[in-house]
Symmetry: C2
Subunit: 212 residues, 2 copies
DNA sequence: CCAAGATACGGAGGCACCCTCCGTTTAACA
DNA sequence: TGTTAAACGGAGGGTGCCTCCGTATCTTGG
């Protein structure tokens, strides 16, 4: 009875490949057809059997969650890449734009997300954490370079971003949010004259919230 | 060709009755089983055939919308009744409590509501209007009686209410919201000493937002 | 009160999708 | 290359969706 075989086996290549394919297909199908789209359609688009889909993602919610998680991770990685951009402020701006785009493509999925978020608060925690860190990284670099106020926490910025996107049912919301974000980033920017003062305030008591 | 028959006929009694029954059943079934609940279950509970249900509400969304509208109207009517209560401040407080309860029973339906709101912005407009008027009526009476500040608009109060309920996934959110509302109403209350001043300020420039 | 016509009712039936189950295939390891 | 665990695919039973139409019921004019 050689039960010493509990050393984990390498996962099968086809399994890994298929999982990836299904995620890709699901992203496309859900974005196009909304959260009610047929899972059989997803399987067909992925070029796998329906059984395979169900083995990887036993419930519809599991699939939602996985797709969403993956995209959050991609946003997070984008922040990683943007860290090496020349202009830190521009990098932050670009990342925010990508985030808005991310929300935009999820338009049809908002109901599904509400449902998923409700059933798995762990997912909410995960994405908040990930996104906060992404923003924090970009924000921190810009602050260290002395180009931005240091008294805005990543959490605050994320909340502002979410709040702005929350009104995404009005027509033209996207450009509106983009405009607001630009204004916002400009506001965060350290004015040349005030640069020294901002650097001094970086790790001390945050200054009183400026009016208008 | 006597086409003068366009004088509207009285609607059939059974049709009216069945419509009402379906709405009642839908409310119960959706609250219990979430927005995915079977429409056939709704029909069965209402004691009507599935065909009848579909004639009255051709799509699932139509049914959602009708149920929701009806409840908003009930909230609105409650405000009407509360207008004749003795204590205007207490009336407002009671209405707010009912509104929170209304949200609470909709817990499972939040995803459906998101969906419905998205597809029919007219519904959103309707309910905002209705609820704003309901609050306005209670608020106005309390202000006229000199028991409350007159510089809070119904829209603001409604927004605050919605905002507070927006966090309804944390455990214990309901009591938290109720507590916050109490604080809020207390804050709106005119202090005996300041009563005269408040009455004077009623229709002029709002005073600076009070601290703490 | 009755007849006639308008209107609403119910549920059978066809269809799409959900999800499980298991015989077949394939990749990892020795 | 053989063995075996793991993954694959899709047939099939079940459920819910929605339409369609013969039947039942209500309103109205006489």
């Amino acid at each position: 009875m050689d039960d010493h075989t509990d050393q984990t086996r390498k996962p099968r290549a086809d399994a890994v490949r298929n999982r990836e394919r299904v995620l890709e297909a699901a992203k496309a199908v859900f974005n196009a057809g909304g959260p009610e789209a047929s899972l059989e359609a997803v399987a067909k688009r992925a070029g796998v059997g329906i059984g395979t889909l169900y083995r990887h993602f036993p419930t519809r919610e599991d699939l939602f969650e996985a797709v969403y998680r993956r995209e959050v991770e991609q946003l997070s990685e984008l922040a990683e890449h943007l860290r090496s951009a020349k202009d830190p402020v521009d990098a932050l701006r670009r990342w925010l734009r990508s985030a808005v785009e991310f929300v935009a493509t999820k338009k049809g999925m908002s109901a599904a997300l509400a449902l998923t978020y409700q059933s798995s608060s762990e997912l909410a925690a995960f994405s908040m954490d990930r996104l906060t860190k992404a923003i924090g990284s970009l924000l921190g670099r810009a602050a260290e370079a002395g180009q931005m106020r240091g008294d805005m926490s990543p959490e605050d910025l994320l909340r502002a971003l979410i709040g702005m996107c929350y009104m995404h049912d009005q027509p033209g919301w996207q450009s509106s949010v983009l405009r607001m974000l630009d204004v916002f980033v400009d506001g965060l920017r350290v004015q040349p004259a005030a640069k020294a003062k901002a650097r001094a305030a970086k790790r001390t008591t945050p200054p009183e919230k400026r009016k208008r």
